[in-house]
């Protein structure tokens, strides 16, 4: 009898400690009333009914998609941009575990968590877009279309999601206090990192390869046989930029939770900035090789051509210069600023390929329905809330005191 009470008691304290961060439920609920949460609640208030509408009434009434424009915001932004921005996990994992850049270790966990959640919510977004989302496993198990680039994307995203979960498990097990599991799963880290790097290389470029099938539809300035390479390089840069951007945000928002002793975050930021500058420069140069290859210089002096120049100069070349300058001047703040422009630039690129440049020669152009925006914003909000929930509880931004020494 007493044993039972004790057990109940420990469960209660476990809940309080793990889920309510050591506060009583009352305190916890009170703590939830913040301006940020208020905005998030408003978004969900719109987003949840819109989602219900989408799944009960169909894609037609809730989007502006059509037979001519079958792909829209959910593919262009949620999937294409989402996957690119979530590349940080693979980039940092490779840098630290494979290339031995140990000093970047503190960035790995947040990057892996962003990667995992990023991919997870990409799949959620995809489910909104698919006509029959419940058939998601079909390409893997029921009918396998081996000639399809999209099959490759599907398989890889699924496997990569699993890999990132494995990579995140140590944090999860530390939080739950499962020492043995943690010990076991940490042994998988290097293997998972290698596996993740291969999968990422392939599916990031495969997303670009999807558009190899649209030569007559995609604007020639964006269509290129180099699309797979463009997508891969820009994803690596996007991943690095997201890591910079995110560690800045984390410091602002979760400052009290970060305690990597002796880590000079400015120095790490500068190092990442250097990598981003090199990546962006390669990307910029390749973009022009692409244009030269198809010899469509004449198109540059058209409205869409001007937009192409904006993308390439303001959102690729300019941040490239900024990164270089900032690194030379050891200005970490400027690196952070450049990373924001880069991230915006990659989003613009994906939207240009999937929406602006696609079907450019049709009169019937697409612009998203407000409900498409609502769903996208809702998914991002839920993603951010999940990230915050986890970061507030698990050892992501700080090292768990009990495990500090073990890996050294």
């Amino acid at each position: 009898m007493t044993g039972y009470i004790e057990k109940k008691h420990t469960f209660r304290s476990w809940v309080i400690e793990k889920l309510f961060m050591g506060k009583t439920i009352k305190e916890y609920l009170k703590g939830l009333i913040t301006p940020f949460n208020f905005v998030a609640a408003l978004i969900l208030l719109v987003g949840v009914p819109v989602s219900v509408y989408r799944f009960t009434q169909g894609i037609g009434p809730s989007t502006n998609l059509s037979d001519n424009n079958p792909w829209g915001l959910w593919i262009g932004f949620d999937v294409l941009a989402g996957v690119a921005l979530a590349a940080g996990g693979f980039v940092m994992g490779t840098a630290v575990y494979l290339f031995g850049l140990k000093e970047y270790h503190p960035t790995v966990r947040p990057a892996v968590l962003t990667g995992f959640l990023g991919y997870f919510f990409v799949v959620v977004g995809l489910c909104f877009d698919l006509g029959r989302p419940w058939r998601l496993p079909y390409p893997m198990f029921v009918s396998v279309g081996v000639t399809s680039v999209l099959l490759l994307v599907g398989w890889h995203v699924a496997l990569y999601l699993a890999t990132q979960f494995v990579e995140f498990c140590p944090a999860l097990f530390e939080w739950l206090g499962l020492k043995n599991f943690r010990k076991w799963v940490i042994k998988l880290t290097v293997g998972a990192t290698i596996f993740g790097a291969i999968l990422s290389t392939l599916h990031q470029s495969a997303l670009g390869a999807l558009f190899l099938l649209t030569p007559g539809k995609l604007h020639p300035l964006w269509y290129s046989s180099f699309l797979p390479v463009f997508f891969l390089i820009s994803a690596i840069v996007a991943g690095i930029s997201m890591v910079i951007f995110e560690s800045m945000l984390s410091h602002r928002v979760f400052g009290n939770r970060i305690n990597h002793q002796g880590v000079d975050f400015d120095k790490l930021t500068l190092g990442l900035g250097k990598a981003a500058a090199i990546g962006l420069f390669a990307y910029f140069a390749l973009k022009w090789v692409g244009v030269a290859h198809d010899n469509r210089w004449d198109l540059l002096n058209t409205p869409l051509g001007h937009w192409f120049l904006v993308e390439v100069f303001i959102f690729v070349f300019f941040p490239c210069l900024l990164f270089t300058w900032a690194v030379r001047k050891s200005n970490a703040a400027l690196v952070r600023f450049a990373s924001i422009i880069t991230v915006i630039g990659i989003i613009i690129n994906r939207i240009n390929v999937a929406i602006v440049g696609l079907n450019w020669n049709l009169e019937d152009r697409y612009f998203p329905h407000w409900m498409e925006f609502a769903v996208t914003i809702t998914i991002i909000t839920v993603g951010v809330l999940t990230f915050r929930w986890i970061v507030n509880r698990m050892p992501v931004l700080y090292e768990h005191p009990e495990y500090k020494e073990i890996d050294q």
Partner: protein, 307 residues
């Protein structure tokens, strides 16, 4: 603005050139598929079409599609250029005759039943299939509704049931697969009072078409649309006016779309083998280097102790 054919071809060769290794591998491994020899096709002679839309009506009936918004007899439908959609598998459009004073030109449009279809190469669940008989058919039981087939089809043919929340399907002309596999002929061909369409073995149709074009050069222009376009299609057209003036794309090239992604897909196994080898190599190298640094540091300490 159109991409010129030459440039287009160039961009295709670039696409396959991106991975030379895989390309040559394909060249040795498999002969390029040149189509089922006995496949059927349909030849549409645009000069004979009078725009009566009997084919549209027949298609509507045989596929049990809902009644059209504008009745089949109503000529006002020609005011706008239409495309196929989930409830209309074929449309007849009217174009002004580019020759001054010539009669209006009517063009029937539907799925081209490509020999190596873009839709089929795009689909990740093999929902589209080029049958030996010729038609490209769709299997609704595996389709997940990603609509990549629609993005890929260069002719803007497949349509989606966007308003169907639970069982949406991709819809397009089936070339009356059921009927022709029972020795029938497609409903539209049968319905046409002008014999504008001919159904038969594709190889025979090419001969028929060529004969007409060669024997009556004053009536026909010298091109059989679909003979070579994107690797050939089962549906063929001959016309009295240039095809680009009546809504046909002339910039599609002759390379099947399936080839466009073969280079990339061919490179995948290569990445799967070389990348891990490279990464493991890097990993071992950095580990070894670190060990060396550590032992050196130790040696250094020992030396210092000894002094």
């Amino acid at each position: 603005m159109e991409i010129s054919r030459r440039k287009f071809l160039k961009s295709i060769s670039a696409a396959s050139g991106a991975s030379l290794v895989s390309k040559s591998q394909f060249a040795h491994g498999a002969e390029r598929f040149t189509g089922w020899p006995e496949r059927f096709g349909i030849l549409t002679d645009i000069t004979r079409c009078v725009g009566c839309r009997s084919c549209e009506a027949a298609c509507n009936e045989i596929n049990k599609l809902p009644a059209p918004k504008i009745p089949f007899e109503d000529q006002s439908v020609f005011e706008k250029i239409r495309r196929t959609d989930a409830q209309i598998y074929t449309v007849v459009n009217r174009y002004p005759n580019p020759k001054p004073g010539g009669p209006a030109v009517y063009v029937k449009k539907q799925c081209m039943h490509c020999d190596e279809p873009a839709c089929a190469s795009a689909c990740l669940v093999k929902a589209f299939k080029k049958t030996q008989e010729g038609p490209v058919i769709y299997n609704k039981d595996v389709c997940i509704g990603c609509r990549y087939c629609m993005t890929a089809c260069p002719f803007y043919v497949p349509a989606y049931e966007y308003d169907e929340p639970f069982k949406p399907e991709v819809k397009k002309c089936t070339m009356c697969f059921e009927r022709i596999s029972k020795d029938g002929i497609p409903a539209c061909v049968e319905a046409c009072p002008m014999e504008a369409m001919t159904f038969g073995k594709r190889s025979d149709l090419i001969r028929v078409a060529r004969k007409r074009v060669i024997e009556q050069p004053d009536i026909y222009i010298d091109h059989i649309y679909g003979e070579h376009e994107i690797g050939g299609t089962s549906w063929l057209y001959i016309s009295g006016v240039p095809f680009e003036k009546i809504g046909f794309r002339m910039d599609l090239g002759t390379t099947p779309y399936a080839e466009l992604t073969k280079g990339f897909l061919g490179a995948v196994p290569l990445v799967l083998i070389l990348w891990p080898a490279f990464l493991i190599g890097v990993y071992m190298f950095t580990r070894r280097r670190q060990e060396m640094v550590e032992t050196e540091a130790e040696n250094f300490e020992i030396e210092e102790d000894q002094q």
